[in-house]
Structure formats: C-alpha cells, structure tokens
C-alpha cells in the first residue's frame, strides 16, 4: 500500500492544453507548441527517466504490437475475420494467422460472429489499422465463460503489482480469468463464482483511482 500512495503523491491531474513545466522530452499524451510542452488529454502526468507522459484516464484502446488481447468476432470474410478489440477500428485476423487450415469461404465454421479469442497484436500500421494473430504462445479460441468490458486504462489496476490483484480474485472465486490489455476480460467457472469475480472487477474499474483498493476487494471477496 505504501508504494501505491507514493505513486499517488507525485501524480498530478492535467487537462487538455495545460502547460507542463519540465525539461524532459515529450512522451505520450503530449503535444508541442512554440517549443513548449502541453498536455493533450485528461490524465495524470508522470515525469521520469527523461520523458514526460500524460496517462489518459479515458479513451479507446490503442493497440500495440505484442500485447495480448481478447477479441470478439464482428464480421467474417472469405479468408479473414474482422475482430472487435475495443479500438477505433476492428482488427483483421487473416486465416493464415489462425491455428486452423481454413478452406476459402469457410471461415465462419471456425470462428462465427460473437465468438471470442485470446490473441496477440502482431501488426499496427501508420494508418491506424491493425492485425492480430492466433499463432503465438497460448493464443486460442475461448469456449464457455463470459466476457466483461472495462476501461482499458484500468487494466493495470485489475492485474495489480506482479499480478497480485488478479490472483487474489482468482483464488477467492476459483474462476479462470484472462485479462486482455484492451480491457476485455474473460471469466470462466461456476455461475455464482463468475458473478462474484465480475462484481470485484467492476468495483476496481469504477474506483480505479481510489486508495486502499486491495483491502476493499479482499473484504468484498470474503463475504
């Protein structure tokens, strides 16, 4: 907890257009005007190792190569799937990036609209379009269970330091949980266990900026 509060103390809420008094280089959530650095979003500023960043509080998921996400099939083409990952645009999953041998035009047999997968982002281009892959590590199709959507900026809080928060929820509810970096969370287990885990995660999402969250969740799960 002490570590958590020390992070809080040097965080500062900034709004779009705010001038940042710093000698550091601009990182994300920042723009330059007349040689000076301004914030471009509502968020908390952090100034470390020579870079100043503003971590936005809200906003859609912006995909980064290598991140593990949960994607939901939104559309099928003859050789591709269009997957909803909570970003500005749907992501493409090409049949050659899937783990199946897909005959042309038969994509829906493997992944129908509404089906979910655990996948990795393997390409993002300058125009903002992105592709995901099912061929990496533990990527797979997700059967049974339920999917919860939270604000992607709150994902680090749901996971916690070295996964402390998520393992707390897993152990206390005996569910299987997988947290996508895009804020989509897959939970599987008994119905009442899923419901409890869902309440816990929703609480974290709602109160992500409050302190003493771990204790609150512990209490909630004990009931």
């Amino acid at each position: 907890m002490s570590e958590e509060s020390s992070i809080k103390s040097n965080r500062k809420l900034v709004l779009p257009g705010d001038l940042m008094e710093t000698k550091s280089k601009p990182g994300k959530g920042i723009f330059r005007k007349e040689g000076r650095i301004h914030s471009s979003v509502v968020g908390y500023s952090s100034d470390k190792s020579g870079y100043i960043n503003v971590n936005a509080i809200a906003g859609r998921y912006s995909p980064k190569v290598g991140e593990k996400i949960i994607a939901i099939c939104a559309e099928t083409g003859p050789s591709i799937w269009r997957m909803d990952i909570g970003a500005s645009f749907n992501s493409t999953l090409h049949h050659s990036e899937s783990s199946w041998k897909v005959p042309f035009g038969d994509t829906a047999r493997f992944l129908a609209i509404g089906d979910a997968i655990w996948a990795e982002i393997f390409m993002v281009d300058a125009a903002g379009s992105h592709q995901i892959s099912l061929k990496k590590d533990d990527c797979r199709k997700l059967y049974s269970g339920t999917i919860l959507k939270i604000n992607p900026t709150n994902v680090p809080r749901v996971i916690g330091k070295q996964g402390s928060m998520i393992s707390l929820i897993r152990e206390n509810t005996t569910t299987r949980i997988q947290v996508g970096q895009n804020g989509y969370i897959w939970i599987d287990g008994k119905d009442e266990d899923i419901a409890l885990a869902q309440v816990a995660i929703e609480t974290i999402n709602r109160e992500a900026t409050s302190e003493g969250l771990t204790k609150k969740i512990e209490k909630l799960l004990e009931k």
């Binding site: 809420l13 723009f31 301004h38 936005a56 809200a58 906003g59 859609r60």
Partner: protein, 240 residues
C-alpha cells in the same frame, strides 16, 4: 431580434433577471453522466439544459466522408420537441443543420484529428430545455464531453454570447433579451491562444459596440473555461 415589447429589459443598469450587464447566468457542469457514451457531459446554463455525448474515434460512415490523413468531427445538434414553448418538430431542420456544421468546424480546429486517419468522432448534443444561447451551451458541453472521452485536443473551447439590449451591450442574453434585443453575438475561442473558432452575429452593432461585445464575450468565455476545468477536476479528482 425584430420583436417589439413594452418590457423594460434593462433598468438602472440591472437586467430583468437581476444580473449586471457583464454577468453570466448560473452555470452547472457535470462530466461523465452517460454510461453508454465514450464521454459525456450535462450542462445547465440559466434555464438551458443540455446533454452532450461523444462516441469514437471510430470508423467513419458513410465511407466517402473519410479523410485518408485525418479524422473528421461529426457534430449533431438537436432540440427535443419539448425543449421550447411551441412543440418543435423532432429531427434536423435548417437551424440545427447549420449549428451542427459550424460546431464540427470549430472542433476540428482543436481536436488532434491527424492522429486518427479515416476515423470519425461523433459529438451528439441534445437540448432538453432551451432558453436562448443553446448553441453556446451545447458547444461548451461538447467540449467537456470530448475531454471526458479521452480524445486528444489542443485545448477545450468555451463558448459564450454577448449582445445588445435597449442600447446596452450585455453578456449572455436570456430568452427575453434574445427575442426583443437588438443584437446577439455568439463566440467561441481557444483560451490558450485567443483564436476565434466560432463567431456569428444576428442584429446590428456599430464597430465600437462590436469591439465591446467581443471583449465581453471573450471575458465570459474565460470565466466559463474555469468552470469547465472545475467540472472535469471534480469528476476525476472526486473519485479519489
């Protein structure tokens, strides 16, 4: 502007609703009121009540409106049928189409559209109760909603009107002053630079009066900007 009345709109330097010429009406702003929108805002400005919701950035439809190198802002201003005395026919009309268009243009100046090629950012503004100055109220609410949606912007834009009533230049006209006054001048600025992103004028002003009205409206915008900042700080700081 053209209406005639026996009402004394301004008497001994005090207006009908008890305000001084350079005073704003009471303003209440709450950010993040709608769950289904990416960002939202509810605003009360005197008797005006406005909701604004922001969706996106997302794929732009219809496709032919897409820009290959940047996003477009699609603002939509609508008035509820029950927002005015005589029932208003729902849907877009000439007035709301115009307001939607100028608001889109204004926001494209501040939103970092170049970060989202081919995308669209939808800004929906719904006037629930109208009492003059709704385009300013709607735009202010939309600014807060855009910030609440986490969309990168150079600044937020406050919007406020000035006008002329019984020969006196006043800030922020109310319904009676708007109907029976001589001029209405809605203004929106970028506070950090003073750039004007929206300026309209309905009625007659002399060049001197225009300067005075611009000055008043600019001061009104700056006052409003502080209120917008407080609303966002409360919404995010309050959760701590």
């Amino acid at each position: 502007m053209a209406g005639q009345t026996d009402m004394e709109l301004i008497k001994n330097g005090i207006r009908m609703d008890g305000r001084k010429p350079d005073e704003l009406r009471e303003i209440k702003i709450v950010a993040g009121v709608l769950d289904n929108a990416d960002g939202s805002c509810y605003l009360e400005w005197g008797n005006n009540k406005v909701y604004a919701g922001v969706f996106g950035p997302m794929e732009c439809h219809p496709r032919h409106k897409q820009k290959a190198d940047r996003a477009i802002v699609q603002a939509r201003y609508t008035m509820a049928p029950f927002s005015v005395n005589d029932r208003k026919r729902p849907g877009l009309d000439r007035r709301s189409t115009e307001i939607s268009y100028i608001v889109s243009q204004a926001f494209e100046k501040v939103v970092m559209v170049e970060q989202f090629p081919k995308a669209s950012i939808r800004v929906d503004m719904q006037v629930v109760e109208a009492h003059a100055g709704t385009r300013c109220a709607a735009m202010t609410a939309a600014s807060v909603a855009l910030a609440d949606a986490g969309i990168p912007m150079r600044d937020m834009i406050p919007s406020c009107a000035a006008g002329k009533v019984n020969g006196v230049v006043v800030l922020d006209l109310n319904k009676e002053e708007d109907n029976y006054g001589q001029a209405d001048l809605p203004l929106a600025i970028i506070p950090s630079t003073g750039e004007v992103v929206l300026l309209q004028l309905d009625g007659h002003l002399t060049p001197d009066e225009f300067e005075l009205a611009m000055d008043l409206a600019t001061r009104g915008c700056m006052e409003l900007y502080e209120k917008m900042r407080h609303a966002l700080e409360n919404s995010y700081g309050g959760k701590k």
